[in-house]
């Protein structure tokens, strides 16, 4: 299917999962849907106009998985294979809806090349300390207990992610919420290593900034 797969070794347990699916094991199917469903939904959402349509795309993709699993040869990871089916369906559906592909927005500044991780005014602009912090980041570990793990703090992070450009939002969600590794994210989204990293970098930096504002109040 593609050149990456020549040296590919499937993750442990994958053969068993595939065999269980083929044998009609309902629990394995449900577990897989529970594990991959959230990310599939999010990715489908990038291509189509609404959550409801995205959900339909995810369902269609699973039907595609079932009809294809008999021919699955294990030359890529099951996860990658499933997501490839998903993105194909989502693209087809998005094209029918007349939507432009999400990657066009990547060029339109999603990668944010000029966007600094930290506001430039946090650093000395000239003089002996040029490029050094004017006001140092504080130690969050010294915050009152439970501040960092509180529901409200998590809500602030969630809002910050919701406000991100689409590709940044997708990458940080897949990496830091859904637990995909960088190679999986690159395969699924068709991103280069450096693009994936830039998107993750911008996204995490913005969430950090939102948390800083919330945890420390207005610094000025």
């Amino acid at each position: 299917m593609d050149e990456l797969e020549d040296t590919y070794a499937p993750p442990p347990g994958q053969a068993e999962v595939v065999a269980a699916l083929r044998a009609g094991d309902e629990r394995v199917f449900e577990a897989l849907v529970a594990e991959l469903g959230p990310s599939m939904l999010r990715i489908a959402r990038m291509y189509v106009s609404s959550r409801a349509v995205a959900e339909e795309v995810v369902q269609e993709a699973w039907l595609g998985v079932l009809s294809g699993i008999g021919r699955f040869e294990g030359r890529s990871s099951l996860k990658t294979w499933i997501f490839r089916i998903l993105t194909n369906r989502a693209k087809t559906r998005g094209e029918r809806e007349g939507r432009s592909l999400p990657f066009s927005s990547l060029e339109a500044g999603d990668a944010g090349d000029d966007e600094p991780a930290v506001d430039a005014d946090r650093f000395h602009g000239s003089g002996r300390y040029e490029g050094h912090w004017t006001s140092a980041p504080s130690r969050w570990s010294e915050l009152p207990e439970n501040r960092l793990v509180g529901k409200e703090t998590i809500g602030v992070a969630q809002d910050a992610i919701a406000a991100l450009p689409e590709m940044q939002r997708t990458v940080i969600t897949m990496r830091d919420i859904d637990g995909f590794d960088s190679e999986e994210v690159r395969n699924v989204l068709g991103l280069s290593e450096s693009n994936q990293r830039v998107l993750l970098h911008r996204a995490r930096a913005k969430v950090r900034r939102a948390l800083e504002t919330y945890l420390e109040g207005d610094r000025s």
Partner: protein
Amino acid sequence: MTGIWQRIRGRNASELTCIELVELVTDYLEDGLSDRERLRFEDHVRGCEACTNYLDQIRETIAVVGRIEPDDLSDEARAELLAAFRGWVRD
């Protein structure tokens, strides 16, 4: 022992500033720096409390984000999928 001038020159040539370091944090955490770059990065962090705190904040940010519950398919969609699976098993 290196001479003071040599040390200053070495500093100018290779030492990162904080504003440069913050842009390398993700490359560092993703293991995307060359050995030389990684040493420069770690040298700076070791000597800079502000950047140590910044790096910690990024790690803490990742941990906070990791506590967000993933969005999920609706119960109806799950039920339909299970029904489809059962139908597929029967056929």
